[in-house]
């Protein structure tokens, strides 16, 4: 029991109840100060002088109060925050801000739970984040030295921290650092080096595999084929296992990103005269650090969007027979080799007629076109439609859902909208678990080699008859007409009509939601594990390209993105039809 009632020697328990209520009230406003400061830093209002006297004093008072009530985890966390702010960094990296937001969120939860049965798990989580912060501060030269989360909070599994915190040997003034036998702190940069090396190994091993396959008859002649193949398969298996293990080394729970939203959403809703709370599901889902880092930005936009559009005013909600306070669910789960993150509101859902009207006004939908309900829903991601509506007071930055989808696509992710059964709107963000090595399909089209993430490819076909619908090329596939596109044309590197006379020998089918696209291919080269890198910044962020990779001969190849290509083909189609 953290609350040392026996210390107070007070028989009346009313006093302790009152005192705890006082502590929680005070603590809440102290954490709010911290969060407000972090929001200011995030908005770029302040940098080095972010932690002003007021925040420092709030932290200090919370530390003192927590010490008095025997709430050691809160005391230690506030102490760590004080230390962190005393020597502010020259820049506040995204990672660091996320961690600080997470800490503030955990602090709030622990303060709210003080004196109750729920204190212990919150306190354990708080200690875990505090250790991460300590790791970052110690390795100040290393950007974001976050150790692997050693205590994934699985269901029913008591975090080992809780045990340690209650260890009678732990003195209050000098809680020992993590036992070196249990946890090793490794700077994030070193983990990255390891992971990159492993990724190179995986790529090399598939290069070797390709070489073996191309030289089969020679090797068989030498009597070497069988053994080489077996050995190589063993190396491949080991490389894959090593890659998986190395990837897991740098997983962190998604709650790191989620933790800042309860406070943020309450604040954003209040500003708009609304009431909203956040429910987090699957916060302990473990993600690769690289994925967690890129998740933060799109998630923020989706949450802003939900507060703008999904959360209605208390009166509107009352009229609709809903509780005045809206609920926003943030949900994460693993789905195979991907992670799905959902932002779901309990508002009125999509206003399809209004979306369609706006889309027609903007020329995104022809007057005679009658899109299906799914197609109408997908229109919220079209440029011009969402950004205009979203640029109100709360959204401020006016980032449209089209931009969010493109950002997500560059990480080889997807973003879809749907409506949950109980009403409301749900945005589903799907991202690869890791961002380093990817199974890809290599194909040649008009003399250029391209790569596509294998997950984006619905299938391939050879020798399909090509047809024309007006000026548009299509192929017939399983009784469906699928628009046909040539990659170089989509990128505007070849004008319409050139080389378009012949039906392509192969097509690669892509799909996003209800939209399908067939890409022309002269040759399907290989399907392989390739090391993927971000596009050099000098190249900008072209639509339809998500990164750069290399064939085994070292030739650089553009990694295409299905969603972006489909957008490009829709645009091209619109241009042709309006011409």
């Amino acid at each position: 029991m953290p609350f040392p009632l026996e210390n107070l020697a007070m028989p009346e328990s009313d006093h302790s109840t009152e005192l705890l209520a006082e502590y929680r009230d005070e603590g809440r406003s102290q954490v709010e100060r911290l969060e407000a400061m972090l929001l200011r830093v995030e908005a770029g209002d302040v940098s080095r002088e972010a932690a002003d006297d007021e925040v420092m004093r709030a932290l200090h008072t919370l530390k003192g109060n927590s010490a008095m009530l025997g709430l050691e985890e809160i005391r230690d966390a506030t102490h760590a925050l004080e230390e962190a702010f005393r020597t502010p960094p020259s820049t506040w990296s995204r990672e660091r801000l996320d961690l600080l937001f997470a800490l503030a969120g955990a602090l709030r939860e622990a303060v709210e739970a003080a004196g109750g049965a729920q204190y212990s798990p919150h306190a354990a989580r708080l200690s875990q984040l505090r250790e991460e912060l300590a790791g970052e501060t110690v390795g100040a030269a290393v950007r974001g030295a976050a150790p692997r989360d050693p205590f994934p909070g699985g269901d029913g599994e008591e975090p080992r921290h809780a045990v340690r915190a209650e260890d009678p040997g732990a003195t209050p003034d000098a809680l020992p650092d993590a036992d070196p036998d249990e946890v090793v702190r490794v700077p994030f940069s070193r983990l990255n080096t390891l992971l990159n090396l492993v990724a190179e190994l995986v790529a090399e091993s598939s290069a070797l595999d390709q070489l073996l396959r191309s030289q089969r008859s020679e090797l068989r002649g030498l009597g070497l084929l069988r053994e080489l193949e077996q050995r190589n398969q063993a190396v491949e298996r080991l490389a894959d296992a090593l890659h998986e293990a190395a990837t897991e080394l740098r997983t962190v729970p998604v709650s790191r990103v989620f933790a800042r939203f309860p406070g943020l959403v309450r604040e954003m809703a209040r500003e708009a005269g609304k009431q909203a709370r956040v429910v987090i599901e699957g916060g302990d889902t473990e993600l690769d650090k690289s994925t967690v880092d890129v998740l933060s930005e799109p998630l923020l936009h989706l949450v802003r969007n939900a507060v703008d559009h999904g959360v209605r005013t208390p009166e509107e909600r009352r009229r609709a027979g809903r509780p005045e306070e809206a609920t926003l669910v943030l949900r994460a789960r693993r789905a195979g080799d991907r992670v799905e993150v959902e932002v779901e509101d309990d508002g009125p859902g999509l206003d399809r007629p209004a979306i369609l009207r706006a889309a027609r006004r903007l020329g995104l939908v022809a007057p005679n076109e009658e899109p299906s309900p799914e197609e109408v829903a997908d229109l919220v991601f079209r440029s011009g439609l969402s950004s205009r509506e979203a640029a109100d007071r709360v959204s401020g930055r006016g980032v449209g859902l089209d931009v969010v989808r493109r950002t997500v696509a560059r990480m080889r992710g997807s973003l879809e909208v749907s409506e949950p059964e109980g009403g409301g709107t749900r945005f589903t963000l799907s991202l690869p678990l890791t961002l380093a090595v990817l199974p890809t399909l290599l194909f040649e089209s008009e003399g250029e080699t391209f790569a596509l993430p294998a997950g984006d490819v619905e299938g391939t076909a050879a020798g399909l008859p090509r047809e024309w619908i007006g000026p548009a090329e299509v192929v017939r596939h399983e009784e469906e007409l699928v628009p046909l596109a040539r990659p170089l044309q989509l990128f505007g590197m070849r004008s319409d009509g050139d080389d378009a006379a012949d039906a392509p020998p192969y097509v690669v089918f892509l799909r996003r939601g209800a939209r399908q696209l067939a890409l022309s291919a002269d040759r399907l080269v290989d399907q392989d594990q390739l090391l993927v890198r971000a596009l050099p910044t000098a190249l900008g962020q072209p639509v339809g390209v998500s990164g750069i990779t290399a064939t085994h001969s070292g030739k650089p190849v553009l990694l295409l993105d299905a969603g972006g290509l489909i957008d490009l083909s829709l645009d091209a189609h619109r241009r042709t039809s309006s011409a």
């Binding site: 109060n65 010490a67 008095m68």
Partner: protein
Amino acid sequence: MTESRKILIVEDSPTMCGLYRIALEPYGRELVFASNGVEGLDLAAAETQLSLVIVDINMPRMDGIEFLRRLRGELRAEVPALVISTESAEHDREEARLAGANGYLPKPWKPQELLETVAQLEAPARTT
């Protein structure tokens, strides 16, 4: 004969004020609270019967040390003062001593410790 043991507590945290109440009121101390140094100086000037001043180092507007300096310099040289601090830092203790503190107690204190320290420092009770 009634003993007047009135203690001025300069402390901005309601939680801490509650703790002082729990620890001291049952033992016959009357507590007066000020939530910052400025207010503390006003009260110290108004309350002539103080047996002790307890002041927290960490406070808005005027911190505990500055409060103590001015208390000693401008108002009351004689009233005993106890400084409370969140950390047991040697420089805090020294600074408090130089500013005119008679005692120093780091948090977390136990009620018994506080009571003993208070009893030691208190000016002899006046009889009215």
